[in-house]
Symmetry: C2
Subunit: 333 residues, 2 copies
Amino acid sequence: MDHTAHDVLGIGNAIVDVLAHVEEDFLVRHDLVKGAMRLIDEVEAEHLYEALGPTMEQSGGSAANTIAALASFGCKAAFIGKVKDDQLGEVFAHDITATGAHFDTPKAADGPSTARCLVLVTPDGERTMNTWLGAAQNLGPEDIDEALVKASGIVYLEGYLFDPPAAKKAFHKAAAVAREAGRKVALTLSDSFCVDRHREDFLHLIRNSVDILFANEAEIKSLYQASTFNDAMHAVRQDCPLAVLTRSAAGSVIALPDDVHVVEAAPVKKVVDATGAGDLFAAGFLAGHARGLELPDAARLGALAAAEIIQQMGARAIRPFREVARENGYHHF
Amino acid sequence: MDHTAHDVLGIGNAIVDVLAHVEEDFLVRHDLVKGAMRLIDEVEAEHLYEALGPTMEQSGGSAANTIAALASFGCKAAFIGKVKDDQLGEVFAHDITATGAHFDTPKAADGPSTARCLVLVTPDGERTMNTWLGAAQNLGPEDIDEALVKASGIVYLEGYLFDPPAAKKAFHKAAAVAREAGRKVALTLSDSFCVDRHREDFLHLIRNSVDILFANEAEIKSLYQASTFNDAMHAVRQDCPLAVLTRSAAGSVIALPDDVHVVEAAPVKKVVDATGAGDLFAAGFLAGHARGLELPDAARLGALAAAEIIQQMGARAIRPFREVARENGYHHF
């Protein structure tokens, strides 16, 4: 890639996570599908919040988590997403810029509050997410700074943006501007239910405009309505020049039209909270890619970042990722 | 104690903690005294926040931490403190009531925002606190619900309330109502610098109105301007019927006019974040006391609660304390 001001520009829902521990029966009582993300309205968000025990708050959002981690690796990263000018919006803006990322999307002066995701963490470390999109759903094409897109080597888009209509328009605008400027477009599929809601749109986009696709096993199988991972992997090799497919403890697979690499997961002592695992894998991979690593080495760095984040609460790292990288022999950081 | 609706009523500053990791040199650059709490204004709070890396937010406040933990032990607990009707105020109210504690102090409709404490955690796990009191400083005598005070076996007051003038009046009103009703008054000295600011007032109060005093080594030495712990301990035995003195890894000492008990600290693998250690020791002690344990056993329960909290980030426990108690053979919980 030629010289650009930012290695990666992420565009996604700007969300503050509200993390709580729950027992398995809480999910059953509230009819929640474990491991999934579902959209809820403000009233349901308030009811569910009332039912939760003590919480902690931390900035979140899928692409935002990836961008914060990329900056923490020392990469040049930027983010576009919509918060309101309220206390949680201030928290979101602080946390992403505190990592070193560029973030200047205008905050909404009125309308709904900054988005919140109620993240319910079960004793096995799995997380079940309930998102009220609030101000994030009002991200629109006018928020896509074309100069910023053109100044970024890779534009990284989260599939969740397909849910709010205005954000979907912003998504398509960003992808078009990036391709026009000769930049790469990366997409993460976000969630198998999200894929189910927007399968045809995703397939069209992947076949025409996506250079790097990130998906986990459930998402890629949902995309191709495939019964096995292998079938889905072979399908995506026909459609996309580079697919990075994550499989939790089974590691990851890099699928290219003419080659496949299988990469092991990094060791994990105890899964405390799976929130952000996929986002951080993408961050490690993109950080490695930006530093010119071979694809399997970049995937190993992704696995390290994912392993680091699932051993703590929340999707934002306590320790700078450049330290994690260096400790593991990645001397480019 | 006779039958009361609440075992303990806590009165204190209602604060949301903003926790960040910093290196030692950050404290030096910003002229901060490690381990201490200092009061800052809103402008300084904003500047310091800007200088911090990514944060997490969690409810805090010294007496509030104690009350949340008491409720988590299964005790009947209530709290009085002032937040504003804003997002962080909602977080504070949610978290304390989610533990089962009673909290219905009216939220301020206008004026300063809900209080924030910027808690800087160094690699050794020590915390340095910078508090902007915001709405908490407007707690006043009108917020002291006399019926609630009379319905509580112990009224637990934090020394930090002596800093804002209106809160100090509220403190004295609560202590007077409690004594009038034959309830016990407990006081925690909060911080050695706070003791230094209000030494004479504290001594007067302790000699006349305090049934149970909580202090750490630095605080009790500051109170009596004593050069050794032993001197301070002997001084407090003249002034107070029951003093619970904590000494970090050196355990605790229960000082009575006619007896002294020395209790070991509970084992700790790694100090992650010392925030809340003293507050949680008080919670365990008071929970044991409410359940009728002997004083040294109550202090051991305090040590367990303190050990639990310093092995995680923040001062609010993830796991219910009644589980911690039962696992350690306290079958009253």
